[in-house]
Symmetry: C2
Subunit: 270 residues, 2 copies
């Protein structure tokens, strides 16, 4: 793994960094092919939006792309994590006037997921952990991720690849590490992320790509029964790609047709 901190080779951050103290930052995880990030327009748009939402210093696009390429040198396929922190601060929540930001680019060789996950779908469960409703932070891929950590800690069974999370009012929001889409009666639906949840880059790509396949996706409040009654359900993130749900507790699906069309389209996307 190669790590660049503010462009320098390093693998540590100051203990006074506000990412550590308060989770005061955002991140993205992305796939690199020959040093080039896939789905970059969608990743970059999300990173810019998230930095703006927290008034974080967004890195220069050219600098960031150069650092990704450098950290991935020699790797045909790699995983990158980009973390943008407020930077160092002294005691107290107040944002330092001179906060310079910290930029961590960590790249490692692609380890991937079993191809069967994408081909045959996966098994998932419902999480007990609920997402709190916090419109001010909703959608942002920020570093305050204890809800996801606790949700993911609910199961150890490796057969279960994902857990679905509800908000505190009982609406379905996402998986612990993925966004969710359902196909029902010819309509594609995905949960609104205006009150909680993480707005993923691949979710944005799917919303942009579905019309070309004849679907105008709707962003809605979704109940558990909407998922259970769906014709197809699929999860997405930038590393797993698109995974169909084959099983959710007792519910079994065997129609993955739309997910497979989207996988094929995604495979052609640079």
């Amino acid at each position: 793994m190669m790590v660049l901190v503010n462009g320098e080779l390093a693998d540590t951050l100051s203990v006074h960094d506000r990412a550590l103290a308060y989770g005061d930052g955002v991140y993205r995880t992305l796939e690199l092919i020959d040093g080039q990030p896939r789905l970059w327009p969608w990743q970059w748009a999300r990173l810019q939006a998230d930095c703006a939402a927290l008034a974080l210093p967004c890195p220069d696009e050219t600098v960031l792309l150069a650092e990704l390429a450098r950290a991935a040198s020699g790797l045909a396929r790699a995983v990158a994590k980009v973390t943008i922190s407020r930077g160092q601060g002294m005691r107290g929540y107040a944002i330092p006037v001179a906060a310079a930001g910290s930029r961590v680019v960590a790249v490692s060789a692609w380890s991937g997921y079993p191809p069967a996950c994408a081909r045959e779908g996966i098994a998932a469960r419902w999480c007990d952990m609920r997402l709190a409703i916090q419109p001010r932070l909703a959608g942002i891929k920020h570093l305050n991720r204890l809800e996801n950590v606790l949700a993911r800690s609910e199961w150890q069974d490796p057969v279960l690849r994902e857990g679905l999370m509800l908000d505190s009012e009982g609406y379905v929001v996402e998986g612990t590490m993925s966004n969710l889409f359902v196909l029902r009666g010819g309509e594609v639906l995905t949960p609104a992320l205006d009150r909680c949840g993480v707005s993923g880059a691949l979710r944005a790509w799917l919303l942009d790509s579905l019309p070309a396949l004849g679907y105008l996706p709707k962003v809605v409040r979704l109940l558990p029964q909407d998922v259970l009654m769906a014709d197809e359900v699929f999860l997405c993130n930038s590393l797993i790609g698109i995974w169909s749900l084959a099983r959710l507790d007792e519910r079994i699906w065997d129609d993955f047709a739309l997910a497979q069309r989207l996988q094929a389209r995604l495979a052609r996307e640079s």
Copy 2:
């Protein structure tokens, strides 16, 4: 400032530490007199409870006290921050089986606050930022503090020493960095922290100490009008001690009698 990371002199943490990645940890801030933490029974109880709530490895008490004393050597009065993180992990929310934890003890000379804050009370404001209702994380002094960061970023006026925060249902919970008590009609009330907020060590000390002054404090849901109609309002944390509210928007208080009795008692507490 002296910083010990897992007992070794250091001032950095791995970029793979989960405190940085997810805010997966807890912390306490405390005052040291000649290397001895004040209010230690309350601080230690809160640290243990918070570690237990997140299944974090709680440090050994003897080890932690020795590290605090070492980091404070030469300082008659000091400020310590103790951070307990899940430790290093690889990609993904799942808690590593072998997570060893990271322990950061940072000590610096006491810088303090103007004595007038304790003597004459302070001015505060209402924050627009609301605390989300998340019972699973309520009370824990964890590292997911973006709500506090955003609340504190709402004002720059140095005259305003604190901002009061409501939860998403409109109940008063706390200050951005302090807990809150009100005296009204001879009763002492403080907000319940079962749905959000941070349970501070000095709050616990106050709840334990008020009966000796003739008050049986009640832990309740408090509305903004309950604060505005109170005879006395005071804020507390382990560094500021006890500050009366002298002004909240248009509301002025000049009775600080109970707060002053508590300050006197706190001054005698080791």
